[in-house]
Symmetry: C2
Subunit: 252 residues, 2 copies
Amino acid sequence: MFFMKQNIYDNDTFFNGYSKLRENDGSANDLFEKPALFSLLPSLENKTVLDLGCGYGEHCIHYVEEGAKRVVGVDISKKMLDVAETENSHPNITYLNIPMEDIGGIRESFDVVVSSLAFHYVKDFEALVADIYRLLNDKGVLAFSQENPLSTCFTTGNRWTKDDNGNKLFANISNYSVDGERESTWFVDNVKKYHRTFSSIINSLIDAGFRIDRLIEPYPSPEILKKHPEHEDLLHKPDFLLVKATKVSGKF
Amino acid sequence: MFFMKQNIYDNDTFFNGYSKLRENDGSANDLFEKPALFSLLPSLENKTVLDLGCGYGEHCIHYVEEGAKRVVGVDISKKMLDVAETENSHPNITYLNIPMEDIGGIRESFDVVVSSLAFHYVKDFEALVADIYRLLNDKGVLAFSQENPLSTCFTTGNRWTKDDNGNKLFANISNYSVDGERESTWFVDNVKKYHRTFSSIINSLIDAGFRIDRLIEPYPSPEILKKHPEHEDLLHKPDFLLVKATKVSGKF
């Protein structure tokens, strides 16, 4: 690997801001991303699971509760895994403190690879999905969420055009067609994200040998909007993209 | 079918405006959409081809030149097919003046179904892809272009945020998450288009039994930009989405 592996999560400012965000109820993650991600998973009964960017290990524990016989949680942040070991340890879970770019060194295979909101931090998506393909058993499932391309494309300026009362009228989309690095401020300056178009993401998975099974771009139902009107802007621009893909060996 | 089949192409105002557009050289269609669509096609040597929304039949003639032994060109517009019969007739081509919604009545099967910039006028996409699936031979290919979801989502207001010199800064995206009818003005008022998100389009194809093979969202290379700087806005917002999918029988 010839590029820097980014570990913003061990920056103190970031860590504290992120911890607060995760405590909030009614977050977009809890309401939309997590249910959508879990809906893409096959039965985990007696399965082996690799969780890429596992953070505090909350999902890892959930996968064990769903019947997984072994879960490996990978994260680049030692601080996050320290919390995971304390709060979400289990005999069936192993936490591994390596960057996602190094998972090629893992010497076991998995029935399911899952990742929540981490892939947009990885520069070389082709290398990542090639690694995942190798780590999966035949007919193994990859399910991941990432920031929606309509969010990651953002380059500079204002994210929204608002009316005089501050209501969001339009999401401002710029440079959608141009894959590559984006810098943004998320608790700390210069968090690097990597924008990829819908077609780039899907084609990379297909080229690696995956069959595309399902896409989800979650948005609020009228019922959720009534309770959480603050998420109305998801009707204009989805925050998340979720993908389910299956490893299919040979020609299909 | 319980909805109106739209035939804007037989409206005189529309027909004249559209004819002029198609005469232009350096149009986005010629530079981006057509090459991308043709790049998705398999060898047509000795193949049967169904062209949905064939218009003047220019593509039909091309498919014959590429070796197709039979091409059926379907269009809702009698006026367009009159031109097609005059300018692009060939013993291997049959033109058929029916709406795309009625192709279920066609009593032959095809190796390739292709469609250029027509699907966004069809209300019931699930019914359309189910019809196409039935009309395709096993391992048959569907290749189509349509307006990009970043274009079809547009509801009201201005399509672009511009700076004081009129340069396009942002594409204004609204109601992307909300599938359904959009009205717009394209030579005539109230042309009805149907917006569908990326995930809606892809999931409908998967649910119909298709394997997704390739997506393209064309944008200009630096070389093309130098010759055609007027297409720079495609870097912000692609006009087209192209999809290649294959009919795969049974479980795969």
